[in-house]
Amino acid sequence: MVRSALGRPDARLNKGPRAGADYVPAISVVIGSLLSLLPIVSASGWWPDFGLLMLLGWRLLRADAWPAWWAAPLGFVNDLLAGNPIGLSIALWSAMMIAMDILDRRTMWRDYWIEWAIATLFIVLAELAQWRVAAVLGAGVPFNTSALPAIIVSVLCFPVAAFLASRIDRWRLGR
């Protein structure tokens, strides 16, 4: 008798991943980008870039969440939804995928703090790039009142994104 016959009828033993499990990570990143449509009218832009956080959460959790090049279309969606200059997230997110591939080969050891540190590095680079691009486009706001609070908020929000990615990963794989 197979082990799954012993469990509850709704148990997912021996059933394998859910349908469309390959697309769940990418969809969760798009949903993160969609959060920028929330009807929040804020005086300052300190909220985190949820699409980027989900992307980092997934990529740090698994190397095979999606083929690396999916970062480019995901970035395009994020640019359109968040109103960024088109190309900013495409370039940044693709560069992050390449950087993560290199990091995966170089790092011998990975724990929670190292993942948070890597995510912090990427968040800082992304916010700095966004800040520089805004300055090039004629909106050179001071670093301390725009990019710095955004970096701190994003870094503190990353564990939530990492937790969500790991829970969604367990759900999609039917564990």
Partner: protein
């Protein structure tokens, strides 16, 4: 936990190739992204159509969610209004009586003003609104200050048109979809508004600071003309914004200018009114500069 060494394709030639092509594709994605980014830095108008389409696709979501939050907050504030209603009622009646007296005086002044203007043969340009919509979202995750309003080209909105609320100036349209448009707020660094101090009429320049406040500088170097509490209004110079629309209220002075708070808070205004440019000839120039400044 040891690091995952990336996807291991094993001995399968097919898996190895697919991994390699995926790597080539992400490098291509990086190159395409950089090219698109450079294009959007040097020629932002080239994406007007795709940005407008994205606004149209997402506007119903934002508008729907915005309706929900408005209803929920309305229920709470509506319930709050019943609290202490008798005292509020008495207070409002007193205020109304006082305002009635002020209104009669104002009407007399208005009459006199019209007579004087007729004597001087000044032409009055009445700006009728193009469209009125709600502010349904903002760029809360970027250093730029944009808001999304629920009217677009199907309502007659065009890129470059000034947007105001009954309270004061909000900004100007920089992206127009057919159902929604994106507004460059007066608090954005790239939004420079020719203005003047209401009391005294000294010309000043208002620039956003990106953090919800506005930086105002006098055009003429010299003594700092600002006092805390001064109201800054548009001057109408340049022809885009109509004159005498309130922009901001000075809260703090710095060495040669002042920091001001916008009078029309986009998160609180009930309606955003899109107006035609004060001088219609300014629309083309404004569309041009809006494209360059985005």
């Amino acid at each position: 936990m040891a690091a995952s060494a990336g996807p291991r394709p094993g001995w399968s030639r097919r898996a190895q190739y697919s991994l390699f092509f995926s790597f080539l594709a992400v490098v291509a994605g990086l190159a395409v992204g950089l090219i698109l980014l450079i294009l959007s830095l040097v020629a932002p108008q080239s994406y007007a159509a795709v940005r407008g389409a994205a606004l149209d696709a997402t506007a119903p979501i934002s508008s729907g969610l915005s309706e929900v939050t408005t209803t929920v907050t309305g229920m709470f504030s509506g319930a709050g209004n019943y609290w202490d209603a008798a005292n509020q009622n008495a207070q409002l009646k007193r205020d109304r009586a006082a305002l009635m007296r002020r209104m009669v005086e104002a009407r007399a002044i208005l009459e006199e003003n019209q007579q004087l203007k007729a004597a001087l043969q000044l032409r009055e340009r009445s700006a009728e609104a193009v469209a009125a919509g709600r502010v349904v979202g903002s760029s809360f995750e970027s250093p730029r200050r944009f808001a999304v309003i629920s009217v677009g080209t199907s309502d007659g909105v065009q890129v470059g048109m000034p947007v105001r609320a009954p309270e004061g100036l909000i900004g100007r349209v920089i992206d127009a979809g057919s159902l929604a448009s994106r507004v460059l707020l007066v608090t954005d660094r790239a939004n420079i508004v020719p203005a003047r101090i209401l009391k005294g009429g000294q010309p000043v320049i208002s620039t956003g600071r990106g953090d919800g406040t506005i930086d105002v500088r006098p055009l003429e170097v010299g003594r700092n003309p600002f006092r805390p509490g001064d109201i800054i209004v548009t001057s109408g110079t340049g022809g885009l914004y109509p004159p005498l629309v309130p922009i901001a209220k000075v809260i703090r002075l710095d060495d040669d200018g002042a920091i001001a708070l916008p009078i029309a808070d986009p998160s609180k205004v009930s309606f955003a009114i899109v107006e035609p440019p004060y001088e219609p000839a300014a629309l083309a120039a404004a569309a041009q500069s809006a494209g360059e400044e985005r």
